[in-house]
Amino acid sequence: MLLIDCPHCGPRAELEFSYGHEAHIERPKDPDALSDSDWAAYLFLRENPKGVILERWVHSHGCRRWFNVARDTVSYEILAVYPMGAEPPKLEQARYV
């Protein structure tokens, strides 16, 4: 069980959080301008990386705030926690096949 450092409440058990999948997937400003396949890409296509993922979590049983996390999907180490809307930090990428 992960220990996630909520920016507002401090380190709490994973149990208190809900997962929001990949971060930085912005809703298109003008959906009508998109082809069906571009829309499908926005809806469904994901990086799903083996290595560092930028993802969103919400402290659903705590302060109910969303935030971003950079996490290694193999070691599960959390490398950074940063607010919604912020640029992701620059991180060393572990290499996995």
Partner: protein, 417 residues
């Protein structure tokens, strides 16, 4: 040269202290080029290779596996086989697979211990009952055996279930597919490997594929730990690692990879003789031939390639087992492990051509693809051989995510299986 397995060959070899058994499959160094390279030596990849050889006469094939055969989800699943899926497209595919299961040991000359002991899906509330009825009725019209058991019928079929008529989750009824059951997971990988090898397929282990060579939108071959291998066609069947492979080929997939865990109890004498699944209470249980209770749990919700599941999921699962089977509270967990399952938004698989010509993907089976192994390999082989989706595979192309033709089997996958 392969020996035929039979009672007689076993007896004959016993006299020679089993010193003369040949290898089940060879372990050749890969050639420089193949007609088809299958990436991923799980059940689906091996079955694909086998049916390419058997059904399509394409034998210049290599299966390239990064680790050991069947070491992915094939080797770590709870082995439930059934075909009672909701939508016509799924029903057709899984039923095709089930029919193949029914003759698989003989076809492969390898006992995969397919045991049709019956699969129960429990209903705990009015909503469950309604969904169950819908499923049963559509199954029947799809030619799939499926029957409804009321609570008393459930108790008669599986006496160790506690109906909990006054409990938190009373058992109100169940669907039963008698032809469903379990199979010996490792044997499926090994049996396909041996049978494919017998038809000339090369099986290469400990050889991760590290990249693709693509030119003019066409696949040329694969980079591997043992060097470059040229291939006219490449079939990727890497389950949890599908996104990694797609990223190597320059596109993305609509899947995410999450840890799914399972566990076994210590072995005991036979106590439960069927498979029991419950969506609402979230547990599924069967007993292996060795005597362990084999128990499937849920997924951790976050992307994870760590092949391990977390404690809260174990707790939830075992609480569910203790609810349905209060007599198992004294049973003990012997081992717990995890797999990496690749889940699609509609909980249905992808069997598809890709933006790269000659590159095919078979993935997205998520928590429930073991049961599909023979059928998946069959239709995928056909798709590859003809460069055209097999009719049973046609609904499962990547295009469906663009056009909106999703096959939402979340009902079927509400419990991982």
């Amino acid at each position: 040269m392969q020996a035929r397995y039979s009672f007689f060959s076993l007896a004959r070899n016993a006299l020679g202290y089993h010193e003369n058994w040949p290898e089940a499959w060879r372990s050749p160094e890969p050639r420089g080029s193949y007609d088809v390279v299958v990436v991923g030596g799980g059940g689906h990849g091996l079955a694909t290779a086998y049916y390419l050889a058997k059904e399509h006469g394409i034998t210049n094939v290599a299966v390239i596996e990064r680790g050991w055969l069947g070491g992915g989800n094939t080797g770590r699943n709870t082995t439930i086989v059934r075909s009672n899926y909701l939508w016509d497209e799924s029903a057709a595919l899984y039923e095709h697979a089930l029919k193949l299961w029914e003759g698989l040991s003989q076809d492969l000359n390898y006992n995969v211990m397919f045991s049709q002991r019956g699969v129960l899906n429990l209903a705990h509330n009015q909503h469950d009952l309604r969904e169950l009825q819908r499923r049963i009725r559509s199954n029947r019209l799809n030619g799939i055996d499926s029957e409804f058991l009321d609570a008393a019928g459930v108790k008669a079929f599986c006496p160790v279930i506690d109906l909990r008529s006054d409990g938190r989750y009373p058992v109100l009824g169940a669907s039963l597919q008698r032809r469903g059951g379990t199979a010996r997971h490792d044997a499926v990988a090994w049996g396909y490997a041996r049978a494919a090898d017998a038809r000339g397929v090369h099986i290469v282990q400990n050889c991760p594929v590290t990249g693709f060579r693509i030119s003019n939108g066409r696949i040329q071959g694969v980079e591997t730990a043992k060097g470059y291998i040229e291939a006219k066609k490449v079939a990727v069947v890497t389950a949890g690692h599908s996104s990694v492979m797609a990223n190597m080929a320059g596109f993305r997939l609509p899947v995410h990879s999450v840890p799914l865990q399972a566990l076994v109890s210590e072995p005991v004498k036979p106590v439960i003789d069927c498979v029991v699944m419950s969506g609402a209470v979230h547990a599924y249980v069967s007993q292996s031939d060795k005597g362990e209770l084999v128990i499937g749990a849920g997924v951790d919700k976050y992307v994870g390639y760590g092949q391990r599941g977390s404690l809260p999921v174990t707790e939830e699962t075992l609480a569910a087992v203790c609810e349905l089977f209060p007599l198992f509270r004294r049973m003990r967990m012997l081992r717990q492990w995890g797999g990496i399952v690749d889940v699609c938004p509609d909980a249905s698989p992808i069997i598809s051509k890709t933006p790269v010509q000659g590159l095919y993907f078979n993935c997205g089976w998520g928590t429930g693809g073991f049961k599909a192994t023979p059928g998946s390999g069959w239709v995928f082989a056909d798709t590859i051989a003809n460069d055209n989706p097999h009719p049973l595979a046609a609904p499962y192309t990547l295009e469906r995510f663009t056009t909106g033709y999703l096959i939402d089997e979340h009902g079927a996958a509400a419990v991982a299986h």
